[in-house]
Amino acid sequence: MLFSRVLTTGSGGLPLLAPIKRRSFLTYAGATTLALAGCQKNDATPGATDVGSGNIGVLNLAYALEQVEATFYASVLTGDYYTKLAPASAEYQILSDLARHEQVHVDFFRTILSTNALKQLNLTLSDTINFNERTTPTGSGKLGVLNAARQLEDLGVGLYNGAAPFLLSADYLTVLGKIVSVEARHAALLRDLLATNGFVGTDVVDATSRQEISLSPTAALAQLNTYLAADSQLTATKLT
């Protein structure tokens, strides 16, 4: 197979992608040999799908997050809260932008993962989110739009920071870097909308090291899985 040299086995038996030059990426992404490193059913957790290992595992983890974010904002655009905003208002512009950004991200990951991409995940967003409310109503079990958005964006930053070190390729590391800072900008604005000077806080930035608190892929999935249907639960057993 022409492209099989791309796939080698690293120490510890992890599938390893050699660094891929940008020029040739799309060619390689279509190569079927990459499927060996892709997602598969996880026997240890029945019903769950494992995101895979190495570059593909990290990219699929990101793809899963972006599926949730993009679907969330697409739902925001049809909910009462957003549709009743004045189109010139700040929050209308903000939520419109967020929806566009996350759609760009999810389509990006789906395309570069090609045949290695996770399936389209089934979500349970309306179980926990009320798309008609700006913020969580007092006593409500469902999050308001801004609260849910903040939770997802903070999760995204922690997920990207925790997953990026598992990448084997500098090009992908740089791309994840390009996205995580945008997610951090989103998170900071949503937090500022919810509380004065909320842009950082000890729940997301360590009070001593002053560095973002990263989430291991498994810890990130513990949160992300709460938005996923029973048939779409994920594990990341090879990103540890």
């Binding site: 759609q103 389509d107 070190p165 390009k178 800072s181 900071a188 608190i213």
Partner: protein
């Protein structure tokens, strides 16, 4: 001297002690160069060399040291900038609280970078190293005007985000260092977002594509080339392409050879918008261009030799 006790004690406080020696093969290299039986008279020198390498020196490559020292220099620039503004008393109560937090973040980043670099870290340049008016090009001075202060703060934070991003690839071989850089990078992005929100007048004010006229209405994220930023003489380069192909301008729409604008169909009734697509990805900036930009804020004669 009981060597076994020494190592046992060390292991108690540092479980990685054997890894420190072994990972660098320093034990064997050092003993090997001695090339003969170790006499008790040689032991002190042998041990100090061993520990110097295991704990005193960084064991970092020159590339990684260069990335981290550039980051450290930028952190000092930011920290002394915020310190000056907080002393100047131009900030209201809320802003004072926000920039005190941001200053403490930068100080934490300085401590983390210094600890990582160890003896390879640059000396603390002190406030005397900097000129926050950029030789008078920021007028009124950032210490005399809230608008000037926020304009330079946006410039420094957006520059910092690009600089850290540009350094990530070089850190891939050292996961521990990479994690620190990632942990700082997204905090800088949070700072940048907040400063931008303040510059457009707060969370209740809508931002404009490209930051609006004279970058007076920046979104909390980088949009196109920000109309050259709040201080074009100093900030055009912060949103433009760097000196390498890996440092495209902020209006870039091609990621790993994929046109991310034509690749995506926007949600709802939205059109494919160049601004929104550019906003979805921040871009890295190479070290050479970062230094050129940062040199604008170095005191006349660059007394501390920063950003060279």
């Amino acid at each position: 001297m009981n060597l076994f006790n020494l190592f046992a004690d060390l292991e108690r406080v540092d479980p990685d002690v054997y890894g420190r020696f072994d990972s660098r093969r320093q034990v064997f290299r050092h003993v090997g160069t001695a090339g003969k039986a170790i006499s008790s008279a040689m032991l002190p020198g042998l041990l100090s060399g061993l520990f110097q390498r295991a704990y005193g020196q960084t064991g970092l490559s020159g590339d990684i040291i260069a990335v981290l020292n550039l980051a450290l220099s930028l952190e000092y620039l930011e920290a002394y900038y915020y310190q000056a503004a907080l002393s100047a008393n131009i900030l209201g109560i809320d802003d004072k609280a926000a920039f005190t937090t941001i200053l403490q973040d930068e100080q934490g980043h300085i401590a983390a970078l210094r600890a990582t670099l160890s003896t390879a870290a640059i000396a603390d340049p002190t406030p005397a190293a900097f000129d926050f008016t950029a030789a008078g090009r920021v007028s009124p001075a950032p210490t005399a005007s809230l608008a000037s202060f926020l304009a330079v703060a946006q410039a420094l934070e957006d520059l910092g985000v690009r600089a850290y991003k540009g350094g990530l690839a070089a850190l891939l071989p050292s996961k521990d260092v990479l994690k620190i850089a990632l942990g700082i990078h997204s905090v800088e992005a949070r700072h940048a977002s907040h400063v931008r929100t303040l510059r457009r007048g707060g969370v209740g004010v809508a931002g404009a594509d490209g930051g609006g006229p004279n970058n007076s209405l920046p979104k909390s994220w980088v949009s196109l080339r920000e109309n050259n930023g709040p201080l074009p003489a100093l900030t055009t380069a912060i949103y433009a392409a760097g000196t390498t192909v890996d440092s495209p301008a902020e209006d870039n729409m091609v990621q790993v050879k994929l046109n991310v604008q034509t690749n995506s169909d926007p949600p709802g009734a939205n059109l494919r918008l160049p601004a929104a697509t550019s906003e979805a990805f921040d871009e890295p900036l190479d070290a050479a261009r970062v230094k050129t930009i940062a040199l604008n804020f170095v005191a006349t004669g660059n007394p501390k030799g920063l950003f060279l």
